[in-house]
């Protein structure tokens, strides 16, 4: 008998709050029981809850917390193939495999994310041009379907279910094991080069040259800078570096309480961003960093989402194809600075190619990600950003999304009809359901 616990869950942005009944299986058979025990009603998998919006929430329904399904089921050093339960985190993978020279090919910007969540969102890292997304390295996965059966799915034996599940935000079933390839020749250290970028044009040009040369690259943008400084920021590139010590484990700090709403306002953010920009000398700088510190800068501050206060915040992330990226990014940044919403974490990266999933986010182009405190006017700003994204043939990332409209969603994801055909087949009664799926009108949501 599955024990369901009533609880309140939020997405990482804390803008969406859901009352749910949650099961927390520890063994494979607990997971089967949870699915069987939900013969009526709806269910969605919930990994580490690092999706920002409502992807892993199911208001007044059920969720399955996968955190205790956290075992590595096998590893072959000859091929790099690792098999994991879904609750294994990137922190686990790094801890176990990095000392042996292996790394996940694509890692999101937080190591707390789980392998299940990474597959469901087809996550990308700071090396997408070079190595692709998480889904590109998946060999097969075991999927628990709504009818209680488990299927081993690979790209040959069921190409459509494979493509629907990678990037499918948990809507095809619960992934209970994933086999994917780790990359060899990784090291716990990287050499990071940082340089100042004066404006958006310089950014586009810089990325055009480095995206094929550097293994890792990521740009930070001062989203409150305007006029000639629009799009200024710091570009970081990194390569692995051999070094004979292991990095010291990081000493995390915790945000102890919700910051008051006024803590992050236009003035504090402007001052912070300006200082952040000048941190790197005009001539640039170069240093050795631990790989973890480079990949996961925010992980040293546990609960950093609380600095946005009780109302939480939105994250917006879109990708624009190369062709229209310059014009599109300019319009996005102008809309943001006009709105006066103080965003202080704006990140610009390039993506190399499309993913393997029907709803995979990546396509070749530029991706911009920002946080917005949820103050008055934030919803309107997100709507404007959605329109600009559409105008430039871009798309919004479902793992970050909170407010995307149904029309926008359909226009951005052209393979949606194929995704929906798979859903109709594997989950005709729409038992796998999330608040996001309802909002986007998936699975026949009214």
């Amino acid at each position: 008998m599955t024990r369901w616990k009533k609880m309140t869950l939020t997405g990482w942005g804390r803008s969406h709050v859901a009352s749910v009944e949650a099961a927390r299986p520890e063994r494979p058979r607990d997971l089967d029981e949870a699915m069987a025990d939900t013969a009526s009603g709806t269910l969605i998998a919930h990994g580490a809850g690092r999706a920002y919006g409502d992807s892993a929430l199911n208001t007044n329904g059920r969720v399955v917390l996968t955190e205790r399904l956290d075992r590595v089921l096998g590893f072959d050093a000859a091929t790099g193939l690792v098999i994991c339960e879904p609750g294994v985190t990137f922190a686990n993978l790094m801890e176990i495999f990095l000392p042996r020279g292996f790394m996940p090919a694509a890692s999101p910007g937080t190591s707390f994310a789980t392998v299940g969540g990474a597959l469901a969102a087809d996550v990308h890292g700071k090396n997408h041009d070079r190595h692709g997304g998480f889904g590109d390295h998946v060999e097969w996965f075991d999927l628990l379907l709504a009818d209680g059966t488990t299927r081993r799915v690979d790209a040959q034996n069921d190409a459509e279910l494979f493509a629907a599940t990678i990037g499918g935000m948990g809507l095809t079933g619960i992934v209970r094991a994933v086999a994917f390839r780790l990359l060899p020749n990784a090291s716990p250290w990287v050499r990071v080069k940082e340089r100042r970028i004066r404006d958006l044009d310089e950014y586009i040009e810089a990325f055009a040259t480095i995206r094929d040369r550097s293994t890792f690259s990521v740009g930070w943008i001062d989203a409150v800078a305007t006029g000639a400084a629009l799009g200024r920021g710091i570009l970081e590139t990194a390569e692995f570096e051999a070094h004979d010590t292991l990095p010291k484990p990081r000493n995390p700090h915790r945000v102890p309480f919700d910051f008051p709403g006024f803590a992050l306002n236009h003035f504090t953010v402007k001052a912070f961003n300006a200082q952040h920009y000048r941190r790197v000398p005009q001539t640039g700088r170069e240093r050795r960093k631990s790989f973890a510190e480079f990949l996961y800068p925010l992980d040293a501050l546990h609960g950093w989402n609380r600095i946005y206060g009780k109302r939480g915040f939105y994250q917006f992330q879109c990708v624009l194809p190369d062709a229209g990226a310059r014009a599109g990014l300019r319009r996005l940044l102008e809309a943001i600075s006009e709105a006066g919403n103080p965003s202080f974490l704006a990140v610009l990266k390039t993506l190399g190619r499309s993913g393997r999933g029907h709803l995979s986010f990546p396509m070749r182009g530029f991706t911009l990600a920002l946080d917005f405190p949820r103050i008055n006017g934030a919803d309107g700003l997100l709507r404007r950003l959605e329109a600009i994204t559409l105008d430039h043939q871009g798309r919004i990332y479902l793992a970050k999304d909170s407010l995307l409209t149904r029309e926008g969603f359909r226009a951005m994801y052209p393979l949606l009809p194929r995704f929906e055909r798979v859903l109709a087949k594997v989950d005709p009664a729409s038992r796998l359901m999330s608040d996001q799926a309802r909002r986007l009108g998936l699975k026949g949501a009214p």
Partner: protein, 256 residues
């Protein structure tokens, strides 16, 4: 420079984990596998195979699986024989982590459950330890760690059948400790407060829930020191000392 000859090099160690499918057992096996081989014993083979694979991937050491049913007493000899073979001429340590905890309400509704609680928590534990004790005695070394509960320290209105089974086990372990002491082995009784596992999940909001990893790490440390008793987290030593000191005429009125 060390001049230890090969014969003096530390013996290989194996931990036999009895009741290997619990969250605490999994956490203990992970912690122990940094320095020892692990043999997982329990009923859910699929689950144990997964844990064994996990241990091998993490530590690169041996990890195996053996069938074990606490209340099938006749099978205990076979389980121990397999553990003995797995350990080879190395040391055999035991971590015992099984038990069942129906609520007092369920037991009141169905007194037949009492026998089951006693069998799983007391008889099964005492029996397997009795069968295994000669192996440890023969090797003149080894560590036994047994999870009991603070519930065994005093019979309480809300949990006295489970508590009495654990109290019995505590007394058994005192005796076993004296016996194995004579053979150079240690017995550590671990009394955790509420731990955040499947057993307690969703029951009611217990405030001070400890993580399984906390209890596991403390247990391993206590075992290495050969400690007799461990309250974990440490605050439970204070809490239970106070609870034991409350006079019975007052305690009987308390709703705990």
């Amino acid at each position: 420079m060390s001049d230890t000859s090969p014969s003096e090099k530390p013996l290989n160690e194996t931990w036999l984990i009895l009741g290997a499918s619990s969250a605490i057992a999994r956490a203990f096996a992970r912690a122990a596998s940094a320095e020892a081989d692990i043999l997982l014993a329990g009923r859910d083979r699929t689950d144990m195979e997964a844990t064994a694979a996990d241990l091998r991937a993490r530590s690169g050491r041996r990890a195996g699986v053996v069938a074990f049913d606490a209340t099938d007493y006749a099978s205990h000899a076979a389980t121990v024989a397999q553990a003995k073979a797995f350990a080879g001429d190395g040391l055999l340590n035991i971590f015992l982590a099984f038990g069942t905890m129906p609520s007092q309400g369920e037991i009141d509704a169905d007194p037949a459950l009492i026998a089951k609680v006693i069998e799983a928590n007391y008889t099964g534990a005492a029996h397997i330890l009795h069968v295994a004790a000669p192996v440890l005695e023969a090797r003149r070394a080894g560590r036994v760690v047994v999870l009991t509960s603070v519930a065994g320290d005093r019979g309480r209105l809300k949990n006295y059948v489970y508590g009495s089974a654990k109290a019995g086990l505590n007394a058994y372990l005192q005796g076993l400790r004296a016996r194995l002491f004579r053979a150079g082995c240690t017995v550590t009784t671990v009394k955790p407060g509420p731990v955040d596992t499947a057993m307690s999940y969703g029951l009611n909001d217990m405030p001070m829930m400890a993580a399984p990893e906390t209890v596991a790490a403390a247990s391993l440390k206590a075992a290495k020191k050969g400690a007799e008793t461990l309250y974990t987290p440490g605050i439970w030593l204070i809490i239970m000392t106070i609870i034991r000191l409350i006079p019975e005429r007052i305690f009987k009125k308390l709703n705990i």
